[in-house]
Each structure stands twice: as C-alpha cells, then as structure tokens.
Amino acid sequence: MILVTVGNYYKGFPRLVEKMDEIAGKISEDVTMQIGNTDFEPRNADYFRFTSEAKINELYLDARIVVCHDGAGSMLTALKYNKPTIVIPRLKEYGEHAYDNPADLAKELEREKRVILVFDVNRLEEVIRRIETIQITPVKDRRLVKSLRECINAIDSER
C-alpha cells in the first residue's frame, strides 16, 4: 500500500492528491490518501480527511511507501517507521502554502539521503516505480529526549 499524507495544514494540496489519484488508476497497488483540507476527492484511491493518532500510525506502519507533503510531522512519522519516503514540498505559487516555502527540512533530509525530494509531481510515477533502486538511509537520533530530560532534572533540583 502507498500512503499519501498532506497533514493538518489549513490549505489543501490538490496538485499532489490529483496526481496520486491518477497514478492509483494505473497501478495495481492500493493507494490510501489523507487529504486534509483538499477539496478534490479521489476516485481511484481510498481517502479520508483526518483521523486518530492510532489509525494514522497504523497506516504508516502498513505502508510500503509514503508520499507526503513537506510537513515535519508527516516526514518524522514516515522516518520513524523506516519507510521509503517521497516528499513533495507545498509551494506558494500553487496556493498550497501561505508563505514562500524554502523547504529547508526536506532539502536537508534529502541531502542526508533520508528522503526523496520531488518538486514536479509529473515525476512522481517514475520515482514510485523505481523506488527500490534508490538508496535511502534511515537515521535515528534520540539525543533530544536525553537533553530535555537533563534540562527537566536541572529545573526540578533547583526547586
């Protein structure tokens, strides 16, 4: 199953949802889409707008590939479950983002070979078809939890 997520952002992401619906009509693999505030409703894929924490985590876990917008939450969850992740940045010029989006995080994650970054949705089908051949390096770093715990302990001991 290919999971598509566009997050909770107040703007829709029809460019991605429409293209993935078109691809879903051409391939045999199931496509499930979280479409958020996108008006367009897919015809060839299962879709829903928002769901519970448990359900979305289950979908990420079950997915073979994740295709998502460049939101930190979507990318973080996909990486947490070690999924091959294709990221399409929301662009202001298409009304998908309120501001000019530098997509710094997605670019940095691509530089580290942790995600595949695709700006042109017309390239999506080709990237999905050859995903097995692309090298991706899942990296996990839990240091922040340790840093915060030390910080909380320091405050606690000062009380």
Partner: protein
Amino acid sequence: MKIGLVCSHGGHLTEVLEIIDAFEGHDVFFISYDGLRTRELEYRKYLFKDLGKTYPRSILMLTVSAPMILGILLKEKPDVVVSTGPEIAIPVFYVAKILGIKTIFVESWCRVKELSLTGKLVYSISDFFFVQWEQLLTKCGKRARYGGGVI
C-alpha cells in the same frame, strides 16, 4: 513537577509526542488546538480553535487568547512549560514569564536555517532554548543550545 506541553494539533504535536518520554514521571497537561488527535490525548488538555493561519488574524487571536491562557496557568500552576511552537507558544510563554514559571522552547525540527518567528519572539524570555540543527546555532545568541534532533 507539573509540566505544560504547548503545541498545535499537527506536526508540532507529532514532535511533542516523539519527545514526551523526556517528561516521564511528571504530571503533564496539554495546551493545544482542537483536532481529532488532540481530543483523544490521554492527558488533561485545554484546546483552542486554531490561532495560527495568517496575519493579521493570528495577532488578534493570540491577544484575545491571553486572558484564557492566564486562567489556565493560574489553575494548573505548572513548574515548567515546554513548547515546540507554533504561535500559541507566544502568549503562553509571556504569561508564564509574568507568573515565574520556567520555560523551555524547542525550535521545530523543520527549522534548519532560520529561527521561526515564534522562536525569535520567545528567545529572550525562554529559560532554555533548544535548536534541532547544529548549523542553526550560528543564527541565535548564546542562550541557544543544540541537543540533538527529534529523530
């Protein structure tokens, strides 16, 4: 200790849930936005209508929300408030500062090269200020520290 976690209902919530182990053993509550995922959080929670979206509406919403946030913090009396952003952290941190509550701001994982506007606005009043990318330290003052990333 009692710890207030402050975030929106999307990606910032995902970041908070990823670091929530750091607050194990403490009494935790949430200040966030109303949404499917925040409604089912198994913690005490205070949920606002999304205050963000675009200026200038958010400035107005943040100002209007300040008295309610004061009420929440007076009732809960947390020892610390922790936020990964976004804008809801601004009124919470300023009210917390007035009440003498410690504040920890964790700049969002998505901020690789520049601080968020929220980060800039709470930087000087945060007791602890973390960034998740080492290269971002060059854009902050000495108070900021790099403590690793959320993943």
